[in-house]
């Protein structure tokens, strides 16, 4: 009897400790990875003739997620299977639908963006002022909370349609 009670208390205390940790405090990169997946669900690509084709997410440069993105493989977004590719050469970007540009990139951003624009690639990055510089979705950090900005003009030029619900959630939308 006493053993049971002890066990019960132990369980309750553990639960109290664990739940908030797993519930709210996620690492910055975990949140960013989750956001990246969510973006794919609220953006419409123009060249969507064959629905069965997989939606390819390319991570350019160093991988900031450290494998956090890997579970995304095999999930679906808008009925398309998600695939993941890591690359650091510009020529290797054919077939990408989403391009995540790591913070580490400093030069050649503009050419990368132009390329993405041509190929209807959604560009996402946590570079500071990424959206202002011509990127489409840029992460910003407000205090402890991760938010994002959207450059609607850039997306329009690339022929991408961003769901208005997503626009509502953005800190700022550049038109």
């Amino acid at each position: 009897m006493r053993d049971h009670l002890k066990f019960f208390f132990f369980l309750v205390i553990n639960l109290c400790l664990i739940l908030p940790v797993s519930g709210s405090i996620r690492s910055e990169h975990e949140v960013k990875a989750a956001f990246l997946y969510n973006f794919t669900r609220l953006v419409t690509w123009p060249n969507l003739g064959k629905t069965a084709s997989p939606l390819e997410i390319c991570v350019y440069g160093a991988d900031p997620f450290g494998g956090l993105l890997d579970p995304i493989r095999g999930r679906q977004s808008q009925g398309r299977n998600l695939t993941l590719r890591y690359s650091d050469v510009t020529s290797d970007l054919s077939g990408c639908d989403v391009l995540y540009i790591d913070q580490s990139l400093t030069r050649g951003l503009q050419s990368l963006l132009d390329l993405a624009n041509e190929r209807n690639i959604l560009t996402v990055s946590d570079l500071p002022d990424f959206a202002r510089k011509g990127g489409m979705i840029g992460y910003v950090k407000q205090g402890n909370v991760i938010r994002f900005e959207i450059n609607l003009k850039a997306a329009d030029e690339a022929g991408l349609i961003i769901n208005s619900r997503l626009l509502e959630l953005a800190v700022e939308v550049m038109r």
């Binding site: 519930g23 669900r41 679906q76 808008q78 009925g79 619900r165 997503l166 509502e168 959630l169």
Partner: protein, 484 residues
């Protein structure tokens, strides 16, 4: 109320029936309308809430996947403007509450495990809706709406239906008052006419009711019946008049004949006495004065002549008495019957007889009638009893009386020879004798006289007997002296 139903007037009954039926119908219609309206309104409310929920779910899907509580709060705060929404809760796919809109009176959002009850509850509607994005459930939406609006709406609806119903009923009431006259009017007229005819016996009155319907036919039939009664009455009156005239004529004829007959019989009896007295007187003179000159045969003839003349005198006396009791006017007075009978018995006993005799007369017998006539009657009865019991070893006469059903029955019994019941018909008829003169002397008028006296007293007489075992006469007289 229903107990009083048969005392109500026809008008009231018709009115009541009409209004009761209409009220019932209107109530049923109103109730079904209210029921249908309630159902419809509930459905409408439900579908409205589903639309709102759908919009909300669609709006909040994106914010939900980005864990954007601020955005979610702002989305659902727009629902504050919808009055009947009481509570909105948005859960993420893990089931924790992401945003809530709560009014003060409602408890906090329910846990999803176990699933909260949905649908119409006592005074709220609860709805649970998945929030989906690309067919993937990303969260849940829980919405509670209070039913105040529904109740208010239904209350208003009930009020309006009640007012409309009462209004219709009022209009129907006025209409029914006007229209019931069409039905009740002729009946009331007919009933009044019938009452007037019954009261005044005036069969010339006719009911002013006509028409091809049942009431009209009733009126016509009624009028025909009254006509028939009038005709029959007229005929009855006519025949009664003629009958009365006839009866009057017959009665006067009859009484004249009766009077003539009585006068005739009286004068005949009276006038017969004259020559009889001469025969008797001269017969006696002949016997006394010339007796010695007659031989034995002559004396025997003379004795026979004298006996015959005595018998004839008795006969004439009897006839005179009979005639008198028929004609004489009667005086009604209380008569001490016991004393009267005792006198007669004493007279009979004085005449003397060798036979041992026992006469029992019940004391204190009282009757009402003419004492002289009653004396004649009972003298005859007692004399008969005396006479016909003379041949036994012992004479026994009983007179007793019982009062029964407003009349007194006086019984006279003897132990004489009696008579044969076969000849009972002839017993009270004049000049009929049941015994030969050689057995018992008599005129055959006595019991006829008794019968006449009893009849004049409005009484009855009966006799029973068996040969050799005595006779039993019963005279029944009314106790009160009233003439019927």
């Amino acid at each position: 109320m229903i107990g009083q139903w048969r005392y109500w007037r026809l008008k009231t009954k018709l009115l009541f029936l009409t209004l009761f039926t209409s009220a019932l119908g209107i109530s049923l219609v109103c109730i079904s309308l209210i029921f249908v309206e309630n159902q419809n309104y509930r459905k409408q409310l439900e579908s409205e809430l589903h639309v709102i929920g759908g919009i909300l779910a669609e709006q909040s899907a994106a914010a939900l996947i980005f864990d954007d509580k601020e955005q979610l709060s702002s989305i659902i705060s727009s629902l504050r403007r919808i009055d009947n929404i009481r509570q909105v809760c948005i859960y993420n796919s893990q089931g924790s509450i992401m945003a809530a809109l709560e009014s003060e009176d409602v408890r906090t959002c329910p846990e999803l495990e176990p699933a909260p009850e949905t649908g119409f509850a006592k005074n709220a509607y609860r709805m649970m809706m998945p929030i989906t994005l690309d067919q993937e459930t990303v969260g849940q939406l829980f919405l509670t709406s209070h039913l105040e609006v529904l109740r208010k709406h239904i209350r208003t609806f009930v009020l309006i239906t009640a007012f409309v119903g009462i209004g219709i009923l009022l209009v129907l009431f006025i209409l029914a008052i006007k229209l019931q006259k069409i039905v009740s009017g002729p009946i009331v007229t007919l009933s009044d006419t019938a009452e007037r005819i019954a009261r005044d016996h005036d069969y010339t009155v006719r009911a002013p009711v006509s028409g091809p319907d049942e009431l009209g036919r009733l009126g016509n039939t009624f009028n025909e019946m009254i006509g028939t009664i009038e005709e029959q009455n007229r005929r009855i009156l006519e025949s009664r008049d003629s009958l009365e005239r006839e009866v009057d004529a017959r009665t006067s004829e009859l009484s004249m004949a009766n009077r003539e007959l009585e006068a005739f019989s009286y004068s005949v009896s009276h006038d017969l006495r004259q020559p009889l007295r001469a025969i008797e007187g001269f017969g006696q003179a002949l016997e006394e004065d010339c007796g010695e000159q007659l031989d034995d045969a002559g004396k025997d003839y003379l004795r026979r002549i004298r006996n015959a003349s005595v018998r004839m005198a008795n006969l004439i006396d009897g006839l005179l008495i009979l005639s008198r009791v028929s004609r004489q006017s009667m005086e009604k007075e209380p008569v001490d019957l016991t004393a009267l009978l005792q006198e007669i018995a004493d007279e009979l006993l004085e005449i003397g007889d060798t036979l041992p005799t026992e006469i029992n007369i019940q004391p204190a017998m009282q009757v009402i009638g003419d004492s002289r006539m009653l004396r004649v009657a009972f003298q005859n009865l007692l004399e008969n009893a005396w006479k016909y019991s003379a041949k036994g070893e012992k004479r026994k006469i009983d007179v007793s009386a019982v009062t029964r059903n407003g009349s007194i029955e006086i019984a006279v019994k003897d132990n004489g020879v009696g008579f044969d019941m076969r000849y009972i018909d002839k017993l009270f008829v004049a000049f009929n004798r049941l015994h030969t003169p050689s057995e018992f002397s008599g005129t055959g008028i006595g019991l006829a006289t008794v019968y006449r006296v009893v009849r004049r007293h409005r009484g009855q007489i009966s006799a029973t007997s068996e040969v050799g075992k005595g006779a039993h006469f019963v005279v029944t007289l009314p106790v009160s002296g009233k003439q019927r």
